[in-house]
């Protein structure tokens, strides 16, 4: 019953919070409304999200988010440095295939997103089998190091969270 009422509990939670952020005031009425919407909207959209992933380790997920936020700041400073201080011919861009072990689409997407938001890398494409991500690196003197860094710093953590 509860399963059917809340097909995506995490989504419901997210929506509840989103509503409170949107209304920007803390009132009982808002809470009621948030509750209603957090129930109804997942029901309405459940059809488009059938195989929902299980986040097994929420603290790890939180830690991952913080890590990524920090990396984003660092990444920005690095990119800024490259843009401002490197001559064009000094920038060594590279395409890097990164084989991945993750299987759930959500995890893969999260990894791909993380890669884009963090130091000098953008997820450009995926292999037809879904096993390899194609990364473009802005400045990659050592492509292998970047690939290993991705696997150890992000993928391993995501694997713990999702699988």
């Amino acid at each position: 019953m509860l399963q059917r009422l809340f097909p995506h509990p995490l989504l419901s939670l997210l929506l509840f919070v989103t509503w409170m952020l949107l209304v920007n005031t803390f009132k009982i009425g808002s809470l009621v409304m948030a509750g209603i919407l957090a129930t109804v909207i997942p029901l309405l959209t459940a059809a488009y999200w059938t195989n929902r992933p299980k986040v097994r380790n929420i603290p790890a997920f939180a830690a991952y988010v913080l890590l990524v936020l920090w990396d984003i700041i660092i990444a920005n400073i690095q990119v800024a440095k490259i843009i401002l201080f490197y001559r064009s011919d000094q920038i060594k861009s590279a395409w890097i295939p990164v084989p991945i072990d993750l299987k759930t689409p959500e995890a893969i997407t999260l990894l791909a997103g993380t890669i884009t938001m963090t130091p000098g890398t953008v997820t450009a494409d995926m292999s037809s089998c879904g096993r390899v991500l194609l990364i473009h690196s802005l400045h990659a003197p050592d492509p292998d190091a970047i690939r290993d860094d991705i696997k150890s710093r992000y993928e391993a953590r995501l694997k713990r969270i999702f699988e």
Binding site: L11, L14, L15, T18, W19, L22, V23, K27, I28, G29, V32, M33, L37, I41, P42, L44, T45, A47, Y48, W49, N51, L102, K103, T104, P105, E106, I108, T109, A112, G113, T123, D125, M126, S128, C129, G130, R131
Partner: protein, 957 residues
């Protein structure tokens, strides 16, 4: 009442033949005839009074404000003409019964005939010149039908058209003339107009009115130079010719000249125009008649000639001449109708009317011969027949009338006309009936049955009777009619012998002698005539009308050739020019409103906007880039709205702009991606100039507006003051939308709903079998397509973004009444969120997961909005009167409940449904081009074991 009934009877009678024709031709003719007879009877009942000198009147108010009333009056003139029309009409009905062949639709014929008869009777009985005009034009129309009765004959069609054109044009001129007359007098009633001779003739408008009215008369009576249509009308069946072109319609012009004689005649203008035209017509038409081999053509031109004669007499403007004119009208009607019918009998029996193929019928058709001879001799003016009497009187009048300083030209020409008249009359007899019997008639001729010759015989008897006893047989009628024409009491003295010294006697003798001489030398004259080049009336008419019609077609087609670009350029220039004219002719004061200082960010936005706008003009051929630029413009305008305190507008602008760009992208998929260069550089420069002029106008207007204050307090002050207390919302814009001007919004959502319906219907039409469908089935994408239709990242992100965006939609909807937002923006936000879902996994996939009835959503939206409005009726207040209340429900805070919110829900649903239905339609078109529907949300799913590796392992690849 009875006069109106007389005029109405033929029209009522026109309905009967069509009904009666099933009962047989005799019944049809009998019914038609009895209606006419009844009308004649009614006329007869009024006759005694009229002959006593009274005027019978019937007045029925119709359109008093126009002065157009169904007023009828009957005086001597009316009695004469009505009698002729109905009497001869009766004879024609009889004659036509036997004349028409089996294959001719008789019901139709009688219907047309009765229409015509009614119109004629109407003309002569009208006591209102506007009413008269109605009947006048009706004769043109009904004669058009009668002349074109034999539709398979091209002469019939052309003759009918020519007659309609000429008499129609004359009729139009007459409308103007009559209206001028009415405006001079201040009444359209004839009986009033006829009392105002001095007023009319003193008016500056007298001459225009005279000319215009005479145009009508001359065209209808085929007077020079409008005589040419009449012979071509001879394509009509002979009964028609006999009726229309001898006895009645052509006399309508004469009737009108006679009718208006008291107020129009007597001036030099009248004399020179009317008498001259009549004289010229008389002589010229008589001459032409002499050389016509077609019996009916001969008679037609003779008719023209005699009409000219009567016109001339009326033109003299004297009481005596007018009296003669009246007398000749009677005489001409009798002998000419008889002649036409005789000619018809000849044609009917011998199957030809060509004088060259006739001759010798005297012994084969003795009865016809007798009738025709009597009538023709009368036409020639041979004593003692009635034609002689009026001709003598005519010559007498002509002799005594001077044309300008010249005293004898009138008499001379009149004599020459009479001379020709003698010649063609005798030719008619001689070349038809006299001479040896031939053996090459197209058909063996013999006299027809009694039914067919009865009518002409009756007329021939009349010719003789009037001829022998004019005073007994006709003077009473002539007197009555002539008194009516002249407005004086006329007592005609008609005698055969005016004394040896009467000039007319010798003129007559000269005419008969000369006429016989002409006939004697006819062969040589005919050769001479044939050798002389003559303008052919039809050729001239065609030479005027056809090029004009062709020119009309060229001009019209060239102007309206579907060149939209030119239409728009013309419209633009016209609008700017007119607006500029309006501005220049008014007083203008420069604005005094304080300007707003320029700050840096708006200046940058302005620069972006200017650059993007110019870029669109420059790069518009690259369509995708154009859309990107449109996106920038939309963004900048949204920013402008935001900057100048219009948050609702900014929200709406940006969401509408995205939806529109999406739509254009979807369409662009099927369209060419580039616009080819099709205009020359000068053309582009011209277009730019046109557009630039309008642009300058808009800039100037907006600057002028922005730099001044309102001339009056804006009504918006009321909205601001009442939004919260009266409308229950703090977002004044939203309160205006759902409350103050909710009715606008109601219309607006219906526009949106209709748009979706139109798009849906259009899609259905395209997908129906046909060229469009074939083209779609054969459609090939014009650009290479990448693999991976539905990349995983977007699908996964959408799983989060969609719910959040829906929530944002709800948020924007709910707060709309108090803060920027509302149903419309919310509808668009939700639509855009759904579009994202469609982009992620495809429309069809999404629709299969969860099907919405978009039609129902639209309709529900409209109905909810309408219901909110209608609901207020229950409370006894007008449509769309909103209500709101503050409700406190523990433990919640006090919240507002407003009916406006329900209305806004209707808006929301309509917007949503409309956008979705549009997308669904586009998607269906795409599917018809061969697009497939995916069963999975994204293409690559490593978790489900449907990867290429697995497929490789299974050997599927």
């Amino acid at each position: 009442m009875s006069l109106a009934l007389i005029a109405a009877l033929p029209f009522l009678g026109a309905l009967l033949p069509g009904l009666m024709i099933r009962a047989g031709k005799n019944a049809c003719a009998a019914v038609t005839g009895s209606v006419t007879a009844l009308a004649l009877l009614l006329l007869g009942l009024n006759a005694p009074a009229v002959l006593r000198g009274e005027v019978v009147q019937t007045r029925i108010e119709w359109i008093p404000s126009l002065g157009l009333n169904a007023n009828f009056f009957l005086d001597g003139l009316g009695l004469l003409f009505a009698g002729l029309i109905l009497g001869i009409g009766l004879l024609i009905i009889l004659y036509a019964r036997f004349y028409l062949s089996k294959s001719d639709p008789m019901g139709q014929f009688y219907t047309y005939l009765m229409l015509f008869q009614g119109a004629m009777v109407g003309i002569v009985l009208s006591d209102n010149i506007l009413l008269l005009l109605i009947f006048w034009e009706l004769t043109s129309l009904s004669s058009f039908l009668l002349i074109g009765y034999w539709k398979h004959l091209p002469e019939g069609r052309q003759g009918a058209r020519m007659a309609l054109t000429v008499t129609g044009a004359g009729g139009l001129a007459m409308i103007a003339g009559m209206m001028i007359l009415g405006n001079i007098v201040g009444s359209y009633d004839l009986s009033v107009i006829l009392q105002n001779k001095e007023l009319i003739q003193a008016s500056d408008w007298y001459l225009p009115a005279l000319i215009l009215i005479l145009l009508g008369c001359f065209t209808k009576s085929a007077q020079f130079p409008f005589h040419f249509w009449l012979p071509h009308a001879m394509a009509a069946p002979t009964p028609v010719s006999a009726y229309l072109h001898s006895a009645t319609m052509v006399k309508a012009g004469l009737f009108l000249m006679a009718r208006m004689w008291p107020v129009l005649a007597g001036t030099p203008e009248w004399f020179y125009i009317v008498a001259t035209a009549g004289l010229v017509t008389m002589v010229m038409a008589a001459k032409i008649a002499l050389f016509k081999d077609d019996l009916k053509a001969l008679l037609a031109f003779s008719t023209v000639s005699h009409l000219g004669l009567i016109t001339m007499l009326l033109g003299f403007g004297t009481v005596e001449a007018a009296t003669v004119a009246v007398f000749h009208i009677i005489n001409h009607a009798t002998f000419k109708a008889a002649l036409f019918m005789s000619a018809g009998i000849v044609d009917h029996e011998a199957h030809t009317r060509d004088l060259k193929r006739l001759g010798g019928l005297r012994t084969l058709m003795p009865i016809t011969f007798t009738i025709a001879t009597v009538a023709a001799l009368s036409m020639a003016g041979i004593p003692p027949l009635n034609g002689f009497l009026s001709k003598e009187l005519m010559l007498e009048e002509a002799y005594h009338t001077a044309w300008g300083p010249n005293p004898w030209v009138m008499g001379l020409l009149a004599t020459i006309g009479a001379l020709f008249s003698v010649a063609y009359s005798f030719r008619f007899i001689a070349h038809t009936f006299l001479g040896p019997v031939r053996d090459d008639y197209p058909h063996k001729p013999h006299d027809p049955g009694f039914g067919m010759w009865a009518a002409p015989a009756f007329l021939a008897v009349l010719v003789i009777v009037i001829g022998l006893m004019p005073m007994t047989a006709s003077a009473w009628l002539v007197n009555a009619a002539a008194s009516a024409v002249t407005g004086e009491v006329v007592t005609a003295k008609i005698t055969h012998w005016h004394g040896l010294y009467a000039p007319a006697l010798w003129m007559s003798v000269a005419a008969v002698g000369g006429g016989l001489m002409l006939l004697g030398g006819h062969k040589r004259l005919m050769a001479l005539w044939n050798a002389t080049p003559r303008p052919e009336a039809k050729a001239i008419f065609d030479a005027i009308v056809e090029p004009f019609a062709a020119l009309s077609r060229r001009v019209t087609d060239a102007m309206h050739d579907g060149a939209m670009t030119r239409y728009v350029a013309i419209a633009t220039l016209a609008i700017v020019a007119a607006a500029y004219y309006g501005f220049r002719t008014g007083t203008h004061a420069a604005g005094t409103r304080e300007l707003m200082p320029v700050s840096i960010v708006p200046a940058m936005g302005w620069l972006a906007m200017v650059v993007a706008t110019v870029a669109i003009m420059v790069f518009h051929r690259n369509r995708l880039f154009t859309l990107v630029l449109v996106g920038i413009l939309g963004l900048m305008i949204a920013g402008t709205f935001a900057y100048f305190s219009a948050p609702d507008l900014a929200l709406t602008q940006i969401s509408v702009e995205v939806a529109a760009v999406m739509l254009m992208l979807l369409a662009l998929n099927f369209l060419p991606k580039q616009t080819p260069v099709e205009s020359s550089a000068p053309r582009r420069a011209w277009d730019l100039a046109v557009a630039g002029i309008a642009g300058i106008g808009v800039a100037a207007l907006s600057y002028a507006l922005m730099t001044r204050n309102f001339a009056y307090d804006s009504i918006a002050a009321y909205h601001i003051a009442n939004a919260k207390p009266g409308g229950g919302g703090t977002n004044i814009v939203n309160v205006i939308l759902v409350d103050f001007r909710g009715y606008d919004t109601f219309g607006e959502i219906i526009v949106l709903g209709i748009a979706a319906l139109v798009i849906y219907a259009l899609t259905e039409a395209l997908l129906r079998g046909g060229p469009a469908n074939d083209r779609l089935l054969a459609w090939k994408p014009d650009q290479k397509r990448a693999g991976d239709r539905h990349p995983m990242m977007l699908v996964v992100a959408t799983r989060l973004i969609l719910p959040v965006a829906l929530m944002v939609g709800v948020f924007i909807f709910l707060r709309g009444h108090n803060l920027p937002g509302g149903g419309f923006i919310a509808g668009l936000v939700v639509s855009i969120a759904l579009i994202m879902q469609y982009m992620a996994s495809g429309f069809a996939w999404t629709q299969r997961r969860q099907r919405f009835d978009y039609h129902a959503i639209i309709a529900a939206g409209v109905l909810i909005a309408a219901a909110t409005g209608i609901g207020s009726w229950l409370a006894g207040v007008p449509f769309m009167t909103t209500n709101f209340a503050y409700i406190t429900l523990w433990p919640l805070e006090t919240f507002e409940v407003a009916t406006a919110a329900i209305f806004d829900l209707g808006v929301f649903l309509t917007v949503l449904g409309a956008v979705m239905l549009t997308l669904a339609s586009l998607s269906r078109i795409a599917i018809r081009t061969g697009e497939t529907v995916n069963t999975q949300p994204f293409d690559i799913d490593p978790s489900e074991g449907r990867t290429l590796d697995d497929l490789d392992a299974k050997g599927a690849r």
